[in-house]
Every structure is written in C-alpha cells, then in structure tokens.
C-alpha cells in the first residue's frame, strides 16, 4: 500500500483510528497523510517526522515527548490562512482534520536548518540562568530593541493579523457535581453521581472520553477496558441530568467552586467553524460553572527521567509510547531502550514488542525488580539491565544510541562501566506526578507523599480528588475511589446515591518504585552534557544547580531565576524533577524545598473564548433615551456619559461642509441665549420618594433645608458623602406632602439610589420612606431661551404666566396632548421649561415641539453647549468641578448648607473639622484669561509666581474651560488655594510648550450675574 509507505511508522492493526479514510495535512510546508482518530502528533510520528520544533533558548532540535497536555515541544502554529492563525497549539491535543495546516512556532528560517541554532550553540555557553536579567536589563533604553529579537527568537507563535471570522461565547452552567477528567476515576464518579439524580457535568479535555482506559492493556470484567468506557458513556448520555463535555479543559478553579471550562467545539473539524442553517457555529465556548461539588479526576502525568541528551528527538515518555501504539496505531521508532524506576514503565516495552518492534533492553534503576509486568517482560525474552539507567542519549536530530551504566542513586554517581546500546528511541519513566494544577489554583498547598513520590492536592471545601490525581494508580483502586467520590459528592448535594457495582479489574503484583529524578552522569552536572528538566523553557539540571549556588534556596526563587515551569507549560513535566534537583543540591528533602504552585490557565485559552460575545458592538451596553433615533437621524455626535449615549453636538452642513465642534457649539449657545434651544435631558437620574418621612429623609441626605418646600415647588440640593465632600447634586421637587421627585446626575443615578437605600436600611430604618427609580419611565425635554414660553404656550394647556408659574415651580398639564409634568428650573440661566412625559410618548412630543418651534428658531443642543452655558452661569458639574475632595464651602455654596437644621445630616460632622474649615483650601473661582482669545486647558496648573524655580508651588488647577460665544472670550472655572479671598488677583498657567498664560481671578458667574434672565 502506497499509503502505508508514506506513514512508515503506522502499525497495520490496532488503535482507535479509522484506516479506511485518509486525511491529508501540511506541516512546515510538507504534505502528509493521517487518519481520522489521529492527533496531529500521532500523524507526525506515523510519518516519521522527528523534529517538530526548536528549543526556546538553545534552539536545539526537539521531537514529540508526550501524548497529552503535558507535551513541551510539539507546540505549533495552526491555520491555513491569516485569519485562522492560532498560536500555541499542542500537536498532541489537536485532532487531525483534512487540510490541517500547521508549522513550528520556533526555528528560523525553518526547524531543519536553523540559523538560531548556531547562535544557540555558541550563545548557549553564555546563557546561564538569569541571563536575561543579567544581560538585557542595562541600559534600560535598549530593552525595547532586545525584546523584539528575543521575542522573535523565543517563538511560541503569533496572533493573526486579520479579523477572526469565528464567534465564541459563554455559557453559565450550574451543577451539583462537576467531574473534571473522564478517565477510569472520573467515569466511575460520574456514574455514581448521575445515578443519584444529581446534576452532573463531566468535562474531559481529550477528543474521546475514557482517559488511559482507551489505550490500556488491562481488562475490566475480562474484556478490553474501552468496552466498559463505551457502556458507561452510553448510560451517562442517556441521563437528562448529565452534561458530557468532551474536548473541554477545566482551565481555572476559582473561589467558591467556580470553574471555567474551555470547550473547543469545532477545532477538530477545521480552521474555522462550519456553517449550519446559515449561521456559523460557535468555535469555542467558555463554560462558567458554579458547582456544588467538584471531583478532580485529572489523572497523573508521567515524570520523565533527567539524563544527558534527554531532549534529542526520539526520547519519549514511556506512557506516551504505549499511547501512540495502542490508541493511535503508531510505533514512534524501531529500536527501543526503556529506562525506568518503576513497574509501570514496563508496559511500554511490552506494547513495543507486541507491535512487532525490537526492544533492545529495559534498563531498570532497581537492583531486583519484581512484579507481573516485569515477569511478562522476562517471559517475552526482553533483556533487563538492573541497577542501571540510561545516563545519556546520543544523537543530534534523532536518538542513535543510549549510554547505559550502573548507578548509585544515594551517592549520585555512575558506579559501573558504560555500555552503548544502538537504538532510535529511548522511553523513560520516573513514576507519576498527580495532576494537581486545578486544586493548586484554589491556593490549597499540596502535600508530598513519600510512598508515591509525588505531591497530592491540597483540597478546599467542596472538592475531592480521586484516582491518579490523588496518587492512586492501581486500576481497581482507582475505580473504587471514583465511585466513592461520586457517592459522597451526590450525598453532600442532597441526593441519595444508588449502588454502582464495580467492574472487576485484574489484580496485578507490583514491586516498589525507586526515587530517581536526575540520573547521574560520569561528569558533574555543571560540566557534563545538558540534562533537561523543563524542555519548553530550556531549563537544565545544571541551571538549577547554578541557581542554588547563587543563593536561590526557595523553589519559588529558583523557578523565577531559571524560568522553570513558566508560561503555558506550567511545569507539567519538569517541576517535580526540578524540585528534586534543588533538594539534592541544597541537601534537603523535596517538601523542605517547597511545594509547587500552578496558576490558571492549565492550557492556553484562546482570547475569543475569554471574550465571548462581549466584543464589538456588544462590548458594553449602550443606553439610549427614547429620542435616540431622532438624534442619530439629525446627525448628532454622541458623548459617552456613563453607559448613556448623549448627543454631544449637532453639526450642520454649512455650504456643503460639516461644522466643526466649535462652530456647532457657538451656534447652539447663541440660539439658547437669543432664541430657544432644546436638550434631551432624559438621562438625569430620577428617584421617586414617597412616605410621611420623605421630607425628613431629604433633610438628612442633602446639606440644605427642605422643611419649607411647598407642594408645587422645586429646590436645588447638594449631597455630601459622610466625609463632607460633594458627591451629587440635582433638583428635587415636592409633588405632594409625602411625595418628592429627586433628580441626580446622569452618572450618579444608580449609586445615589443605593446610597439612599443604604442609609435608610442601616441608619434610619425608623423613617417611613420608600425609593424607586423612575429614570427610564420619564423622558425629559428641556426647552430654554427667551422664546421658550411662547413655544410651549402653543402646545400646552398649562398656565405659563410668569407670576402664576414662577421660576422653581412645577406644574402638570398636557403638552402636545400628552400628560406632562413641567418644571421651571434652569441649568442655562435662561427661561427654561423641563417637560417630562412618559417615555413612550416622548418622540411625539419632541416632534410636535419642532413642528411649532421652527418659527422661534428652536435649536437642538448637546452636552457640550450645555456645559458652556452652565459654566457661564457658574453652575458646577459634580465630577468636573469636584473630585471627591471638594466641600460645599469650597464651591462657595454656603447658601446651600443648613448648619442649623434640627437633625444632623450626612457630612455635617466632617464639615466642622479644622481641615474643612481651613482658609487656604482650594476654592472655586472664575478665571478670565488676560487675552480673551485664549481658552485655557482644563487641568492646567495654576501658579502665583511664574518666575519661581521649578518645581513651582502649584496653587490650583482649571476645572472647566470654554470659549463663550455670548462673551466672545475664553473663560474658565478653577480651584485655587484661598481663591475666595483672591478676587482680582492675577495668576499664571505655565504650559507644557513653554508658554505661560495670565488670568484674573473673578466671580464664577460670567453672564447675567443678577440671574434676571431665568426669572422672566
């Protein structure tokens, strides 16, 4: 078969692949073939691709090491076109699909012939740990230059330069029991929990659920283990209370059993998600799970042995060798040497032999290995070399031989002659490390168990670990633990568990493992060939030893100094070995060196999944008034005020050219001062206050007095926080004796309602009063200017006579046939009517006003004009003139403070402090630039002596500054130390460009100082 010729390492039988169908794919520009069921990694191995990447720091050729999430080398860039680029994909986790295109993330110009390799080989000598810190930190100005090249050389992929065509979303999930990992333990736990009726979510990161059972040589009930897997999955799928999420990685375990799952929904199908029913399917989904109980059945990662040359392609984990043979039908070589410290490793040799390949030798670090698998190997006639280890792998682009010698583990030395065994593959097993990453995210410290030579997870409330994740590796025990965990989790969440009969597993005799992490070499660690601990970050045993010699004793410091376990790797293969080496160098035990901490995310999560649908026009809510589309059609420019979109100004076309903001604002300002303007003020917060104590409550939350405000009247109110600083202002109207309508600033509406509730519920529950937000119920249209009365009179039945409907009165009646409340309040200083109607009628009323308003020159104006007009009158804007450090007295608003009110009010105590009474506090004043053409910069600092040496003493700053069309001059509001006593003085504003502006301190009221215009 030509096909098998291409896939020369593909076995003729076995594995969970579909040999009847062929998929083609491209890796680093070469076309290859594989089968459905393959991962990219298994397909590359089938095709004999040894080098899949270049290493991070030394640019050494690297091959596939593992078969799962722990793979450190086979990290690829995916995508057949620019928009589909995905960095940081582990080839071991990427299902093969037809047309898949991938390339190595490292290696320039390519992995086979790598220029960086030369640099690495030369430079490697000069790149000890801490190299970056030591070398590139100075001069600081050069860092940007260095960084560019370091990043390019470091690889790890790149982000796409074109927009992502795919969509991603979030799912809020809730369950009683979340099972993470669907191997033997997880499936048993899920089954037990599911049968109880509990809501169960099972998440598993692999293409198929079943974990190690999919490639196990062990049997359950005398049949291949995968048959039990299929039966359990069938049962789980039949339950309505169970959600099975394959291809879903639990990436982060957050507080209160909140777990984030990253589900890859279509990444096994193609570069971009397929289209169904005209809609592109969601490519990846982030499940935000709140779980009652979490069961961590995440299994264990095999630990490689650390020996010289252990990074040459052809060095694999023993378990990975078994997985490739049994699950993917690939033997990743021809001649195997196995180096092991335990019985489990033997399975790789047995599988290798059964696949028809040559096992050169098993090298066992133990003097007298004994157990069923050891016996099986002997029975197969496999040569076992005891008390020994592979001390060095020979070869550059592929393993060519293993150097094997007797070792003395306790003395950490080679204790016998070295023999060289020709081979192309070295499998190693140093035992297992439970996958404790998720448990570690919760902050719980893992504990070292000497009997299993591994850390087991520390557990917070509401979580259990079972199986490999807990350091239990015997299949029968794993299943029993799973069932037990499932039953306990269900019971804890209120369900009665049903019995689950365990499938019978083989009882295998196993011998004890020996603690071997780093294998000694004839040469010392620092002088011998490199022994890699963390392949992804190119951290060597020598690097760790050097770090300890340089005084780094805590594993946390060693990690940071060497970069061990950094980034996307998160120490899956290397951390424990690294700690063991540090412990050896420091002559301590592993737990004395410290524990190991992992952070989210377990494996990389695409940004799309993190963002979900919170992007583009759904990034943040846009709040619209009932008149929004009129503003849009009128061509308004919008300003964001909180989440509201408010019209900023309405540029008109003049001689075919759109007005600038300055032109538009000048026109709008003059229209209000000379004719009539209209503002959509619907965004102001409105709070309906009812109850017999409403008036008393107002007196306690506002600084000013409310006892005499009569029905039909309105009053401006100023609100302080308990620190005496202004926090909000607005007009409150008395609708009835027990009924008030409070308005707040647009941005403050929600916070002020909460503030009122807080004080009512915690401090003054005895006051009978209720608050409800009516902000959205009313649409507010402000007509203002000398012609306002005439305009309103045309369409309203309200008596608008100046003596019966006075300034600061409100009346109800009809406007344009719609019931309305009209308030005579003014933020412009002009004659103003604020018309409030139920929002559903707003458009009709607004349009009717325009129908009648044309002859009066009715002009819509936006927030910019509003700002200019109010500043001309010296009216403050909370948040512009105030910044949380400004008192009512600083604003010159003593008239709005009722120190003699019978009951205390919020802020009163603070306003009597010596600091708030201080004379030289920053106080609000007006500034008139000496040159009327100058518009001062908002935020500009004010000094008294411009010739003073730098740093000049700064006495204040500009809070608002505009050009006033009616005054034909720039003008500003500012806060100046002791400003109220400085009227008439000249101050200076030195600017960044070297200019210094002069201004005179004046009253804050620039226009109509007697306030006659609003009273007409």
């Amino acid at each position: 078969m030509s096909q098998s010729k291409q896939q020369m390492f593909r076995l003729n039988t076995g594995g969970r692949i579909d040999r009847s169908r062929t998929l083609s794919f491209t890796f680093n520009g070469q076309r290859y073939q594989g089968h459905p069921g393959d991962t990219l990694a298994s397909a590359l191995l089938a095709n004999g691709v040894d080098i899949v990447n270049r290493s991070f720091k030394y640019s050494r050729p690297r091959g596939i090491v593992a078969a799962g999430a722990e793979e450190p080398n086979a990290i690829v860039q995916l995508g057949s076109n620019e928009a589909a680029q995905v960095p940081n994909v582990r080839a071991t986790q990427q299902a093969l699909f037809d047309g898949l295109t991938a390339c190595s993330t490292n290696g320039w110009p390519n992995v086979q012939r790598d220029l960086m390799g030369l640099v690495g080989k030369l430079g490697g000598q000069f790149m000890p740990p801490g190299f970056y810190y030591k070398t590139f930190m100075a001069p600081a100005s050069m860092w940007l230059t260095y960084e560019k090249y370091i990043r390019k050389a470091a690889g790890l992929g790149r982000s796409p330069m074109e927009a992502d065509p795919d969509s991603y979303d979030h799912f809020n999930q809730h369950c009683d029991v979340l099972v993470v990992g669907a191997g033997a333990a997880g499936l048993a736990a899920a089954l037990a929990a599911a049968r109880s009726g509990a809501r169960v979510i099972v998440a598993d990161e692999q293409e198929e659920m079943g974990g190690s059972l999919l490639a196990s040589r062990e049997t359950l009930e005398g049949k291949p283990a995968d048959q039990w897997v299929a039966r359990v999955l069938g049962e789980l799928a039949s339950y309505e209370n169970v959600t099975l999420l394959p291809r879903t990685t639990a990436n982060g375990y957050h507080d209160h059993n909140f777990v984030t799952l990253h589900e890859r929904r279509t990444e096994h199908l193609g570069d971009t998600a397929p289209v169904e029913n005209g809609h592109r399917q969601v490519r990846a989904r982030l499940h935000r799970v709140r779980a009652g109980q979490v069961i961590l059945s995440t299994g264990a990662h095999e630990r490689p042995l650390v020996y010289a040359g252990n990074d040459v392609p052809g060095n694999l984990l023993a378990g990975a060798v078994s997985t490739y043979i049994r699950r993917y039908g690939v033997a990743p070589g021809r001649k195997l040497v196995l180096s092991t410290s335990n019985d489990y490793g033997y399975r790789a040799a047995l599988d290798w032999k059964e696949a028809g390949c040559e096992v050169v030798a098993i090298v066992d670090a133990r003097e007298a290995p004994a157990g069923d698998w050891v016996d099986a190997a002997r029975a197969q006639g496999i040569k076992i070399i005891t008390g020994s280890a592979v001390i060095e792998a020979k070869g550059s682009n592929r393993v060519t031989a293993a150097r094997v010698a007797k070792i003395d583990i306790d003395a950490f030395k080679v204790s016998g002659p070295v023999q060289e065994l020709a081979c192309d593959t070295i499998a190693s097993s140093g035992g297992y490390s439970p996958v404790i990453h998720l448990a570690s995210h919760t902050g719980a410290r893992p504990t070292w168990r000497e009997d299993i030579l591994g850390f087991v997870p520390g557990l917070v409330k509401g979580v259990q670990a079972c199986g490999g994740a807990k350091g239990t590796y015997t299949l029968g025990d794993v299943l029993a633990e799973g069932v037990e965990a499932g039953i306990r989790a269900a019971a804890t969440t209120g369900y009665t568990a049903q019995t689950v009969s365990l499938p019978s597993a083989e009882r295998l005799q196993q011998g004890p493992a020996v603690a071997l992490f780093q294998v000694p070499h004839e040469k010392s660690t620092l002088r011998g060939p490199k022994q890699f601990v963390d392949l992804q970050n190119d951290v060597t045993a020598a690097g760790i030893e050097l770090a300890t010699r340089e005084g780094f004793e805590s594993i946390e410091h060693i990690k940071r100094y060497t970069a061990m376990g950094f980034g996307t790797d998160q120490g899956k293969l290397g951390n424990i070995n690294g700690m063991a080496i540090a412990a050896r160098c420091l002559k301590r035990s592993i737990p004395e060196v410290g524990t190991t901490v992992f952070r989210p995310n377990y494996t990389p999560v695409t940004f799309g999944a993190i963002v979900g649908r919170h992007c583009r026009d759904l990034f943040d809510p846009e709040r619209y008034t009932a008149l929004h589309h009129w503003h849009v059609e009128r061509g308004a420019e919008f300003e964001d005020v909180g989440q509201w979109k408010r019209p900023w100004y309405y540029p008109q076309k003049v001689n075919g050219k759109a007005e600038t903001i300055q032109e538009a604002v000048a026109r709008e300002c003059l229209a209000v001062r000379e004719k009539v303007g209209i503002l959509d003020a619907s965004t102001l917060g409105k709070i309906d206050i009812q109850g017999p104590d409403a008036r008393e409550f107002l007196a306690r939350v506002y600084t000013n007095k409310w006892e005499k405000l009569a029905v039909g009247k309105c009053r401006y109110g100023l609100m302080c926080k308990d620190d005496g600083m202004v926090t909000d202002d607005g007009v409150t109207s008395c609708l009835a004796e027990n009924h008030f309508l409070m308005t707040t600033t647009t941005g403050g509406a929600a916070a002020i309602l909460e503030w009122l509730e807080l004080w009512h519920q915690t401090e003054w529950p005895e006051l009978d009063v209720y608050f409800s937000s009516v902000t959205d119920h009313w649409a507010t249209m402000t007509i203002t200017g000398p012609e306002a009365r005439k305009l309103l009179a045309e369409i309203s039945d309200i008596d608008l006579d100046r003596d019966s409907f006075k300034f600061m009165d409100w009346r109800s009646g009809k406007v344009a046939g719609v019931p309305a409340r009209v308030f005579r309040i003014s933020f412009t200083g002009e004659l103003t009517f604020e018309i409030n109607v139920q929002a559903n009628y707003a458009m009709h009323v607004w349009q009717t006003l325009f129908k009648h308003g044309e002859k009066y020159g009715l002009t819509p104006y936006g927030t910019e004009t509003m700002h200019v007009l109010r500043a001309e009158k010296g009216f403050i804007i909370v948040g512009q003139e105030t910044d949380g450090s400004v008192t009512p007295e600083d604003l010159g608003m003593q008239w709005a403070i009722g120190y003699d009110k019978p009951y205390s009010w919020i802020g009163k105590r603070a306003l009597t402090r010596s600091d708030t009474k201080r004379e030289n506090r920053k106080q609000l004043v007006g500034l008139r630039p000496k040159d009327p053409k100058v518009v001062l910069e908002e935020g500009a600092q004010i000094v008294l002596d411009p010739k003073h040496a730098i740093p000049m003493p700064m006495v204040g700053h500009v809070t608002s500054s505009y050009y006033s069309p009616i005054l034909d001059s720039g003008f500003a509001l500012a806060v100046v130390k002791g400003g109220h006593q400085r009227l008439g003085e000249t101050v200076y504003l030195p600017m960044a460009d070297g200019q210094t502006f002069e201004a005179e301190i004046v009253s804050t009221i620039f226009y109509d100082p007697k306030g006659e215009r609003q009273n007409v």
Partner: protein, 211 residues
C-alpha cells in the same frame, strides 16, 4: 390617604407611542428564521408596570381585594391571574412588580391607594421605563444560559419563579410564567442592548421575532 401625587401618564387620544424597541426594530430588524426556528422572541410592549413597596400584610390585603391576586409572599415567586395578563412578582422583602394590561395601571394605583388609606406604602408607575420580552421555543433555556448568570435549570427555576439577575453586562428581571415561556423585564434604556444581545446569542438556534 397616602398624600402622594398620582398622575395618569397615558392619554386616550390617538397619539402615537413608541415602544422601547422601536429604534431596535428599525436598526436591527426583526429576524424571521421560519420553520427552522428553535426560538421565538416577542416584545409585549405598552403594558402597565407598577412598583409596590410596603409591608407584605397590608399590601396583600389590598391586592387581593383590588386585583383578586395574592401578594407573592415567598421570595422569588410570581403569581398571575387565570388569563396570565396580570401578575405580581416579588422583587425584594418590601418590593413587588405588578404588570397589568396597558391602561389598567392608573385605575389600579388609584384603587390601591384608596384601599391602603393611611398605611405606609409607595406605588410608582414605571410603565414607560421598562418592557417585557417573551422568550419561547426549545432553545430558550440555552439562550438564557448564554445571557443570565442565574441558574435557569428547571430544578432551580420552576414555573412561577422570578428573580432579578445579571443580563450580560446589564441587569434584568427574569420570570417563568409557564412551562415553555420565559419573560424578561428590561429597562427601556438597556432594551436595545438586550435585544441585540438576544438576537446575537440566539442566531445559532434560528430566531423568530414576532412584532
């Protein structure tokens, strides 16, 4: 009497009104997925919405007499009349949302005020400030899972429940008046955001918008 101002904001004349989604229909349209639709979305606009605040006992008496409905005393519950047109929902320990056919809210408020007399309570008309979106179809629950953080599984959200919760980056009141129907009460100013969100989240299921 409660000595509060009442104000009928509606008018009988044929004055045009615009629902909170009027602009959204113009801008985003009203998609029709036809036969493949697994999701129906309908705005029930112009209903009467009142916020009742007060003690549960006095309010219960009043709404029984005036509206013929019990005040839902248990947190997070909803009661409706036989037609489903009138409902009262618990919002907080002293706060309920009453929804009635449009135009009934002012007579109802007046009658309640008469009945409640001098008791301490508050009634606020918010009819212009919110709208009701009805969601049905087999994908309704999945749509909600994408949208609200609250657990909408039937075991946690039976018929007759209602809660206030987070809607994407806004808030909503969500309730389940019947087995196959969900209702969202959204604020007018957020309605367009909510509508666009629901169309986007529902697109993969095929949305039919009934206007």
């Amino acid at each position: 009497m409660s000595n509060a101002a009442t104000f009928d904001t509606r008018t009988d004349t044929a004055i045009p009104v615009e629902s909170p989604l009027a602009y959204s229909y113009r801008r985003s349209g009203a998609p029709q997925a036809g036969g493949s639709s697994r999701l129906q979305l309908r705005e029930r606009a112009m209903l009467g919405h009142l916020i009742l605040r007060g003690g549960a006992i006095v309010l219960d008496e009043a709404v029984r007499d005036v509206l013929g409905l019990n005040l839902p005393g248990r947190p997070q519950t909803l009661v409706q009349d036989a037609s489903g047109e009138r409902s009262i929902q618990w919002l907080s320990p002293d706060e309920w949302l009453v929804i009635v056919p449009g135009g009934e809210e002012f007579p109802l408020e007046t009658k309640l005020r008469e009945h409640l007399g001098s008791a301490h309570f508050a009634i606020s008309d918010v009819s212009g400030g919110q709208t009701l979106l009805e969601i049905s179809g087999e994908a309704a629950r999945e749509l909600l899972m994408k949208t609200v953080i609250y657990d909408v599984h039937p075991s946690n959200f039976p018929v007759g429940k209602g809660v206030t919760t987070v809607f994407a980056k806004a808030t909503t009141i969500i309730r389940r008046p019947s087995e196959d129907r969900w209702e969202l009460v959204v604020r007018r100013s957020f309605a367009d955001y909510c509508y666009r969100w629901l169309l986007d989240a529902g697109a993969e299921f095929g949305v039919n918008v009934q206007q």
